[in-house]
């Protein structure tokens, strides 16, 4: 396998980002930038999938590429999830932006560069590349949230996320510095070895670990570092929300897992008062808070924001289990994130398709009776929320099953029980979508949202719907790939 093929996805992001920028500057209004962008990202994802299936990168990669970035199956697996999420978001944007008169090329450029950052993040094996990737990804997202410049909400959400994000980045950076000070290394493996050898300055390591964990927990929006999430998700244009909730979250989890399992993979920081118990506590808070707070939301977008918080909790359950049983739990995390990516993209896409110019569907009330009036538009939403709820035979069911199963195998039965109870609470607000669509009629004087007609959105829905069903029908294949990736991560 050629070295070029391994780094082709990254290069493709960069090149197409620059290309779109140029084209956008000169091209006419109707240029199909969304098509180009989504195809570019999909191709990048497909290349990664090919590399993944073929068994990963060659051993003789030049040092310049391997010093800061990994090219292991773990990274490629996340490439697939990130690119799938980004590509679907771009397709949604292609329909959404045009419908709502926001069609401006920079959105696609932002997605491309942000996606590039996310892929760097998933590959990061050094504190430096971690930070660079994180900031590259985040900057794009801040701008994306504020994309609807005239909307006060959008700007408010972007500003909040930016301020808090800077704060968290500072904490992360400080933590990184302390880890370097404590161990003399910035690469994850070196840090791990120093901790294991016992020669590290333990007090610095402890404080550094604390701050790095907080910084990453912020990015995955774990409670209590989640406060920015609902505002940012709600303020952003829906395709941007989609991108944040899937690709960004997946990339953040990728580096979270890598830091925990490689840099902090020594027994001395995993037992007693180490990170697993701390993260288990965060997971419980996140699952309970996310699900419970989602219940009273009137806006579906906000509900999905809280739902994405809750899902971060489930993923962290898998991470906790990984400390005990290793690869099987990590593979559950990988599978979960892939399943969550396509399910959430499907749900957001369904929300996008529900509205058209002049009337966007945002609240539950906007969906009243849609199932009767436009059954074909409602069907993807049904599949999407069922998958998010964890209903067999959709992707979400196996995601939850593998994660909770990993927790049980690791002996954290109580964690699995909390997770199951919390997701039972979650069933309420997911099913409410179906109830509203199929069992309620609109008010007399209500302005009805009319589903939009867009080939882009339809394609996105069809693709994500098919993926949800495929992951649910034959989860074994994806899980096998994930297990192999997890094994190689742990060496």
């Amino acid at each position: 396998m050629s070295m070029w093929l391994v780094i082709a996805p990254l290069l493709l992001m960069l090149v197409s980002g620059l290309f779109i920028m140029l084209v956008d500057a000169f091209a006419k209004e109707r240029a199909e930038l969304a098509l180009v962008t989504s195809v570019a990202i999909a191709v990048a994802g497909a290349i990664s999938l090919g590399v993944l299936v073929q068994g990963g990168a060659p051993a003789d990669m030049p040092e310049v590429l391997t010093r800061y970035l990994a090219s292991d199956p773990f990274a490629h697996f996340f490439d697939v999830a990130i690119c799938a999420g980004a590509s679907l978001s771009v397709l949604l944007a292609g329909g959404y932006l045009r419908e709502h008169g926001l069609e401006r090329g920079e959105f696609y450029v932002l997605v491309l560069f942000s996606c590039f950052g996310a892929m760097i993040l998933a590959r990061a094996i050094d504190l430096l590349s971690l930070f660079v990737g994180l900031e590259t990804m985040s900057l794009g997202v801040y701008a994306m949230i504020a994309f609807r410049r005239t909307s006060a909400r959008a700007v408010e959400g972007a500003m909040k996320y930016f301020l808090l994000g800077s704060f968290a980045a500072a904490i992360l950076l400080f933590g990184s510095a302390l880890l370097y000070a404590g161990t003399g290394h910035t690469d994850f493996v070196g840090i791990g070895e120093m901790i294991a050898s016992g020669d590290a300055e333990n007090r610095l390591v402890l404080v550094g670990m604390l701050m790095v964990v907080v910084g990453l927990a912020f990015k995955v929006s774990a409670v209590p570092f989640h406060m920015w999430t609902p505002d940012a998700y709600e303020g952003a244009v829906t395709p941007a929300t989609t991108f944040m909730s899937v690709s960004v979250k997946a990339a953040a989890f990728a580096v979270f897992v890598r830091v925990c399992m490689v840099a902090l993979g020594d027994e001395s920081v995993m037992t007693a008062s180490g990170w697993p118990t701390a993260i288990a506590g965060l997971a419980v808070l996140t699952m309970v808070y996310g699900n419970v707070a989602a219940i009273v939301q009137k806006s579906i977008k906000r509900m999905l924001a809280y739902s994405s918080i809750a899902h971060a909790g489930y993923v962290m359950v898998g991470l906790v289990a990984a400390a005990e049983i290793g690869a099987p739990a990590i593979s559950a995390v990988l599978f979960y994130l892939l399943a969550y990516t396509v399910s959430n993209a499907l749900a957001f896409g369904s929300l996008v398709v529900m509205g058209s110019r002049g009337k966007e569907a945002v609240h539950y009330d906007d969906l009243r009776g849609v199932g009767r009036r436009h059954p074909m538009a409602a069907l993807p939403f049904v599949i999407g929320v069922l998958s998010l709820m964890g209903f067999p035979p959709t992707a979400g069911f196996f995601g939850k099953y593998y994660v909770f199963n990993a927790a049980v195998q690791a002996g954290d039965v109580w964690l699995a029980i909390v997770g199951v109870l919390a997701s039972a609470v979650g069933a309420y607000y997911y099913l409410r979508v179906i109830v509203v669509m199929f069992m309620q009629e609109p008010e007399e004087d209500q302005v009805l949202a009319v589903p939009m007609k867009s080939g882009y959105v339809a394609t996105a829905l069809a693709a994500s719907g098919a993926a949800v069903m495929a992951l649910g029908m034959m989860p074994g294949w994806f899980l096998d790939v994930a297990i192999e990736a997890a094994r190689q991560l742990l060496g």
């Binding site: 907080v214 927990a217 570092f225 037992t271 008062s273 180490g274 707070a293």
Partner: protein, 976 residues
């Protein structure tokens, strides 16, 4: 032996049902009719060929006593049944159809009469809108009935049993637009459900002894079923056979309309008349009798059940006959007549004449089907819907000669006119009763007398009301012809049940006509059958050929010595039975002829006292009684349950938690204030929480054990330092760095500070389970004549004998086994004597102390004395009331266990201790208290302290119970 045709007998009607049910509404009527009739006729043809094959096998020299054609289809599912040795027995339930002497005949009846009634329905239902639905139901019924009949096991039979119940419900409520008819369907269904519950209980009761659901194996185990007592808790509810058969009979009272569940059958006449003929006369309602015959060996194990069945059957026959006498509608009279005739069949079953009962099933199928179809033919002719009032009919013989003649033949059959079929079958039943009355059988003679007398009365009334029906319908003048139109209005509510009916009680079509060929053909066939089929069972007592008895001989059991082909020991019974049958017929037919022949009004029943007439006409007001009691109670209970559901389940269990979550949800969203510095604050608070966790160490001690050591392992945290206190004295013994410290138990136990002591009790296990039906093992009689009963289970005999021999306190003990089973027989002669009887009691009590469980149990003992009871030690400790100061133990300052036996037998270091003197046991030593082994274990304390890089300290203290014995030790339990 796999027999495909037998399988197809079931599959053909099923296929017909599926085809007509799914596609019938799109198909032409001709196609629907062809599928419906063709499938059942095909099944009949297969049944005939199978029957011939069976006949050949029976009469050939195959050497098989009771041949059967078996179609093994597949294993439906398997269940686990607890077996006697404590494990589970895997019990597969087969889908297997058996065509033998009994089921073969029944299959012929079901398919044969079924075919005729399908043909009849072609004409009768020709004006019906839901033509395909009707035939789909009818085919489904046939298939279900065939499953019921051909099933080889109880569960599969139950499938058919439920299936026919379902079809019955669907067909009674066939015209469901009429709420009355729909209600009749529901009534039938509910009454049947009550019975079905009985069948299930009976089925499960049988399987626990018979270890099989197959009829053949249950019958083979009949003797065992009759000998095993049925015990729930401490109560013995007769034998398993009695218990099970009584519940099975409860099922029969539902399906076969006996007291107390018969009330649904008269209402079931709401369904189309062919349905009444097929389901509610010829086949389904006889399923109960069929089930009794199938399991006849089991029923014969219980005189109680048989007596109950006989009495219930006879009473049902009588009750229904009295009602039928005064009714005014054709189908209603026939319905009560069916209930009454079913009563006859059950009376036969009850007196042990199973073959006679089944013979009556057979003959009844012909004449009652013919009567119903005849009634249907009349109704069809006059365009009556639902039912026909006989006082608006009359003189029908002019219009309907074929219907009239077949009806008359069937009347003669049911009335028991000699040489007609009903005569022979009824005579066999009366003979069965007379046999019980005149001979010494397992049943009380009064049961036989009771059945005989009541059936005589019922038979008399039967003959009377049937001929009343015949004369009022077919002779005299046609009372609905023009000019007669407004004859009778007294019973309008009974007369015009059907809302869409156009005659409105003002008389029927003035120009009746004979029915079409598709309806008269079945009448003719059935009429001929009603006349002739009795010849199959000529009375054996007069040395006439009784084909029926011979055919049934291997399949159906009978009262010992009174089989249909056995030599009759007492000819008196034969003559009494024959005389009773003929007299009943003569009185009934004669009376009816005098009173009703060519009459247009009913002078007899109207001459009855008004109150009696009303009482009978209102069917003994049983429905009203049920309404006022059971149904009212049920409605009340349902209302109560509904309230509880609303106020408890929906409110407290559902709404309150929901409100709780919603409240929390609201609270959480309040936190989302939207101010960015608040968000930052929350972030900082969260980080502080994590900091607290990371900056303080956790001891996280785990204990690893081997056979003789325990190792304390502290959690390996970043930069932790460890200190251990392993002897519990408060000072740290191991101050330095290792993360693990091993306690070597053998060396250290003695010197360790023992906090408390645990007595580890291991109850011994009895080597043999004790037979459940034996209350006591035997008695011990002491020299002074006191008697002690030994309760099972006891420990092994060796222990008992050895202990008796060692016991010097017992002068002479004689052991008497209670019954003659040679289980534990011994006599012990002992040497010393003792003056107090109570002491002897204690001794014996301890000897027989029985283990209740094999589980280890820990009793923690402190410095204050602890009384030991049998419950503490996991042993039965009988008669310990006589012991005023029970045994006690406590821990001394030296950490030893001080035992005060207070008269109990204690074996310590191989010696029997002085029962009145206290002694000490050291840690690790064992003893035997009564039947229990006891060992003394120390509880020691260990403390682990960890310190992390920030100098923060945490410690964890564990109480470790050491199970120590010389050469081996391990940690039994760790408490934190």
């Amino acid at each position: 032996m796999d027999n495909l045709p037998v399988l197809w007998i079931v599959l053909l009607p099923l296929a017909g049902a599926i085809m007509n049910g799914l596609a019938g509404r799109f198909a032409s009527r001709r196609l629907v009719a062809a599928v419906a009739v063709g499938s059942v006729a095909g099944a009949f043809a297969l049944a005939v060929s199978s029957f011939i094959e069976l006949y050949r096998a029976k009469h050939g020299d195959t050497g098989i006593e009771d041949p059967a054609l078996i179609a093994d289809v597949y294993t439906w599912f398997s269940i686990g049944v607890p077996s006697f040795d404590g494990g589970f027995l895997d019990l597969p339930i087969q889908v297997r159809f058996v065509f033998d002497s009994l089921s073969g005949l029944m299959t012929l009846v079901v398919t044969g009469i079924g075919t005729l009634i399908h043909i009849y329905s072609l004409g009768y239902m020709s004006e019906e809108k839901s033509y395909a639905r009707f035939f789909a139901y009818l085919n489904l019924f046939t298939a279900s009935m065939l499953i019921l009949v051909l099933a080889s096991s109880l569960p599969l039979m139950f499938v058919g049993w439920e299936g026919v119940g379902l079809c019955s419900y669907l067909l009674i409520g066939f015209w469901y637009e009429n709420p009355k008819y729909a209600a009749a369907g529901r009534k039938a269904f509910i009454a049947n459900r009550v019975g079905d519950f009985g069948v299930l209980i009976g089925m499960f009761a049988l399987v626990f002894v018979a270890r099989s659901f197959e009829f053949t194996e249950i019958n083979a185990a009949a003797g065992q079923l009759g000998a095993t007592p049925f015990i729930i808790g401490d109560a013995q509810l007769g034998t398993v056979a009695t218990f099970a058969t009584l519940f099975l009979f409860l099922g029969c009272t539902g399906k076969s309309a006996q007291i107390p569940l018969y009330v649904w059958l008269p209402d079931a006449m709401a369904g189309p008349t062919p349905v009444s003929a097929l389901i509610h006369a010829a086949t389904m309602v006889t399923a109960g009798v069929y089930l009794c015959c199938r399991l006849s060996p089991v029923f014969l194990e219980s005189a109680t059940t048989l007596s109950v069945i006989a009495i219930v059957g006879a009473l049902t026959a009588f009750l229904a006959a009295t009602i039928a006498v005064v009714q005014k509608e054709m189908k209603k009279i026939l319905a009560y007549s069916t209930v009454s005739q079913l009563g006859f069949m059950f009376a036969a079953v009850g007196v042990g004449a199973f073959a006679a009962g089944f013979f009556h099933v057979f003959t009844h199928a012909f004449f009652k089907a013919c009567l119903f179809l005849g009634a249907g033919s009349v109704m069809h002719a006059v365009h009556a819907h639902g039912d026909a009032n006989i006082f608006k009919l009359g003189g029908m013989k002019k219009f309907q000669p074929i219907t009239r003649w077949t009806f008359l033949l069937s009347c003669a059959a049911i009335a028991g006119v000699p040489l007609f079929s009903g005569f022979f079958s009824k005579d066999e039943i009366l003979l069965g009763a007379a046999n019980v009355a005149f001979n010494d059988t397992m049943l009380a003679p009064w049961v036989g007398w009771f059945v005989l007398v009541v059936l005589f009365l019922a038979a008399t009334m039967t003959a009377f009301y049937m001929y009343r029906l015949y004369y009022l319908t077919f002779t005299g003048d046609y009372r609905s012809a023009e000019g007669h139109g407004d004859g009778e209005h007294a019973d309008e509510e009974h007369g015009d049940d059907h809302a869409g009916d156009d005659d409105h009680g003002h008389g029927y079509d003035p120009h009746p006509h004979e029915s079409e060929g598709s309806m008269t053909f079945p009448l003719i066939v059935l009429g001929a059958g009603a006349t002739l089929v009795g010849l199959l069972g000529l009375p054996h007592a007069f040395h006439l050929p009784n084909w029926w008895g011979h055919w049934m001989e291997p399949s159906i059991a009978h009262l010992a010595g009174f089989g249909p082909t056995d030599e009759i020991p007492n000819m008196t019974a034969v003559y009494v039975a024959m005389a009773a049958g003929i007299a009943a017929m003569a009185i009934g037919v004669g009376g009816a002829t005098v009173l009703y022949r060519n009459k247009n009004e009913d002078t007899f029943t109207t001459s009855l006292p008004k109150k009696l007439f009303d009482f009978l006409f209102d069917k003994w007001r049983v429905d009203e009684l049920y309404d006022a009691t059971i149904i009212r109670f049920n409605k009340w209970a349902a209302m109560l349950a509904g309230r509880i559901d609303k106020s408890f389940v929906d409110a407290i269990l559902t709404k309150w938690p929901a409100w709780g979550v919603q409240g929390a949800s609201w609270l959480f969203t309040r936190l989302q204030v939207g101010v960015v510095h608040a968000y930052g604050l929350v972030l900082v608070v969260g980080m502080s929480g994590l900091a607290w966790w990371f900056f303080y160490p956790q001891a996280d001690v785990e204990v690893e054990t081997t056979m003789d050591s325990a190792t304390l392992v502290a959690g390996r945290g970043l930069g932790y330092e460890y200190r251990f206190d392993v002897d519990g004295d408060g000072a740290f013994d191991v101050p330095a760095q290792p993360t693990r410290v091993t306690l070597d138990l053998d060396d250290d136990i003695g010197e360790r500070d023992v906090l408390r002591v645990v007595a580890l009790v291991r109850a011994a296990i009895a080597p043999e389970p004790w037979p459940a039906d034996r209350a006591a093992l035997g008695r011990l009689v002491s020299a002074s004549g006191n008697v002690y009963e030994l309760q099972p289970p006891v420990e092994a005999l060796e222990d008992l004998e050895a202990a008796l021999e060692r016991s010097e306190a017992i002068e002479s003990v004689t052991f008497e086994p209670i019954d003659d089973q040679p289980a534990f027989t011994t006599t012990a002669e002992a040497r010393g004597s003792y003056d107090e009887e109570d002491y002897l009691a204690d001794r014996l009590v301890l000897l027989i102390a029985k283990p209740r469980s094999t589980a280890n149990d820990h009793l923690e003992v402190g410095v204050s004395p602890r009384v030991l009871t049998g419950d503490d030690l996991g042993i039965g400790w009988q008669a310990s009331e006589s012991n005023s100061t029970p045994m006690s133990v406590h821990v001394t300052e030296e950490g030893k266990l001080l035992v005060r036996p207070n008269g109990a037998v204690v074996q310590y270091q191989g010696e029997f201790m002085d029962p009145e003197a206290e002694f000490e046991m050291a840690v690790g030593e064992g003893a035997r208290f009564g039947g229990a082994l006891v060992r003394v274990l120390p509880i020691v304390q260990a403390t682990v302290e960890v310190r992390n890089a920030f100098g923060n300290v945490s410690r964890e203290t564990l109480d470790i119970t050491l199970e120590a014995a010389p050469g081996s030790a391990r940690v039994a339990e760790v408490a934190r």
